[in-house]
């Protein structure tokens, strides 16, 4: 972890209009949940639908996509990353610093709003709010690590990330149960399920992956992606304009 790398990253990630974009999605979630609370009152089933479908299924991957790729992709594109790389700094340290910033953004913009939205909708019923907030947090870590790696590997990281989150996880995962095994969303849901505990089955919170498999898979993705991103950054080609 390097504080200077982190602060440069945070400044470019939250600068300009991107901070607004990052605030927009959680605002929509909170508005939706607030409206639902006003219309139907405390309703655990609805909260599972909204938190699972919108918060964990859409908000977290989209914010992690913006934060994860945005933490490194634009700098590689415009070449300004040369100012970080032309320093006697370990490339792994650079990647970890950027990952920490991206994860922090997702915590603030996705996990915390998920907790608030859960509380709004379900009160403290069965730990639904906490369960989904924990799920959003761990999913955020996995997505950020994956999308940051994509940002190092390809200039089309946003497109590739969208394809993964929308097509693979949501679409294919919805039809082909096997595809859900390779889904960060499902791993996080397994952890949510465990946090909610006994009432999870009643509420219909169930993951395609067992808790015992989800945790090591998430840890492996976070560590593996970070390690590989650092490795690729070591041999990043920065060609001039010739």
């Amino acid at each position: 972890m390097n504080a200077t790398v982190a602060s440069l990253t945070a400044r470019s990630l939250l600068g300009r209009r991107r901070a607004l974009l990052l605030a927009l999605l959680p605002a929509i979630l909170l508005l939706l949940c607030g409206a639902a609370r006003l219309v139907v009152g405390v309703e655990p089933d609805l909260s599972v639908g909204l938190l699972g479908g919108f918060a964990l299924g859409t908000l977290v991957p989209l914010l992690a996509l913006i934060a994860g790729t945005g933490a490194i992709g634009p700098e590689i594109d415009d070449g300004s990353i040369v100012y970080l790389l032309s320093k006697p700094l370990s490339r792994f340290r650079i990647v970890v610093s950027k990952l920490v910033v991206a994860i922090a953004v997702v915590m603030v913009a996705a996990a915390v709003p998920t907790l608030l939205a859960g509380r709004l909708l379900s009160g403290s019923f069965g730990g639904v709010a906490v369960g989904y907030a924990v799920g959003a947090a761990v999913a955020g870590m996995g997505y950020c690590a994956l999308f940051l790696l994509l940002g190092v590997l390809t200039r089309n990281a946003v497109v590739v990330g969208l394809v993964y989150a929308l097509i693979w996880e949501s679409l294919i995962g919805g039809f082909v149960p096997g595809a859900q095994v390779a889904s960060i969303q499902q791993w996080a849901l397994a952890i949510t399920e465990r946090v909610i505990g006994l009432s999870a089955a009643d509420l219909g919170v169930s993951s395609a992956v067992s808790f015992g498999a989800a945790v090591p898979l998430l840890v492996a993705v976070v560590i593996g992606c970070t390690w590989y991103a650092g490795l690729r950054l070591q041999s990043l080609r920065l060609t001039g304009e010739e």
Binding site: V5, R11, D78, Y83, S90, L238, T239, E241, E242
Partner: protein
């Protein structure tokens, strides 16, 4: 004192050879890397700064491999050609961040010193996005100098600078060289290079074409045979007059199609022919030509040097 050594360095991208078997040594003092656009200068500097691996050969700084060696950046200051910086920061914040990234003992005074060297203290609190090109260039140089490196690599540093800024930067580079630093900068403009650089490395089409003192290279360039394209009201007569004189070694009548081939010499301006003249010596030919024309009653319409572009000078240096 640091020395860069390139040993049989080549770099290709797919089928395109950007740098072809270059061997050179760059020691203390200011060295200019001269060559036309696309000659491989940037590729060479990118390899020397460790952001591109050579396809073959080695690039070392004081015997140490540059590629994949982060520790080397303690000794290298790099000024990239590309413009982008973290332009939401102010100049001060950005130079200070660079000092911190180097983990200097006293980053604040290092940043202050670097900004003083490039004369940017007055504008240091403005956002980088508001800077002119010359100011941004000076901030880039400050970031490269902040850790007081013995080696400075600059890729096309004079691009986009106005004449005053250019002179300032030249002065700065010269003083860096006099301090014993190894300063290498690339340029495609001979005048820029010869005003600052004690020694010159010339790159043409990926090859190392010439190296040495700028006076030697200047002489090579001026003493080479010169070519002219000439149009007159009687190209054939002029051709025979020129070839009869010792100042030219070859004359070729070109264009004019059938008319010229049929020997129609009296078509004047509209006949579309021209002479390509190979002069043996620059000064004497220019002196002799008007006299020849006058003596033979020939009117000259156009005399233009055919090969004054930098590329042709370079290709002369590379040889056939």
């Amino acid at each position: 004192m640091s020395t860069f050594a390139l040993d049989k360095v080549s770099r290709w991208f797919g089928n395109v050879v950007a740098v072809n078997d270059v061997t050179m040594t760059i020691g203390p003092g200011v060295t200019g890397l001269l060559g036309p656009n696309g000659a491989g200068k940037s590729t060479l500097i990118t390899m020397m700064s460790g952001f591109l691996s050579p396809s073959s050969g080695t690039v070392t700084l004081d015997g140490e491999q540059v590629w994949r060696n982060e520790a080397i950046y303690r000794r290298i200051g790099l000024v990239p050609e590309r413009e982008a910086m973290y332009d939401l920061s102010t100049g001060w914040q950005f130079v200070l961040a660079n000092a911190r990234l180097h983990r200097l003992a006293d980053p604040v005074s290092a940043a202050r010193r670097a900004l003083e060297v490039v004369d940017m203290t007055d504008a240091q609190d403005r956002a980088i996005s508001t800077y002119s090109k010359g100011m941004a260039q000076r901030i880039k140089i400050a970031t490269a100098l902040v850790h007081d490196p013995p080696v400075l690599l600059l890729d096309e540093p004079f691009n986009g600078m106005d004449p005053r800024q250019r002179l300032q930067l030249m002065e700065l580079l010269r003083s860096m060289g006099e301090e014993g630093r190894t300063v290498l900068f690339s340029s495609h403009i001979l005048e820029e290079v010869e005003q600052v650089a004690g020694s010159i490395q010339v790159m043409v089409a990926g090859r190392h074409a010439a190296s040495g003192d700028f006076r030697d290279i200047r002489r090579l360039m001026t003493e080479r045979p010169h070519q002219y394209t000439i149009r007159s009201d009687d190209d054939r007569a002029l051709a025979s007059a020129i070839i009869a004189d010792a100042s030219a070694s070859g004359v070729q009548l070109v264009g004019g199609g059938l008319a010229a081939a049929a020997g129609a010499t009296d078509l004047g301006e509209g006949n579309g022919t021209a002479l390509h003249v190979q002069a043996t010596e620059f000064a004497s030919f220019i002196h002799v030509l008007p006299q020849l024309a006058n003596r033979h009653g020939i009117r000259l319409y156009e005399v233009s040097p055919a090969d004054e572009s930098l590329e042709s000078v370079f290709s002369y240096l590379v040889g056939p």
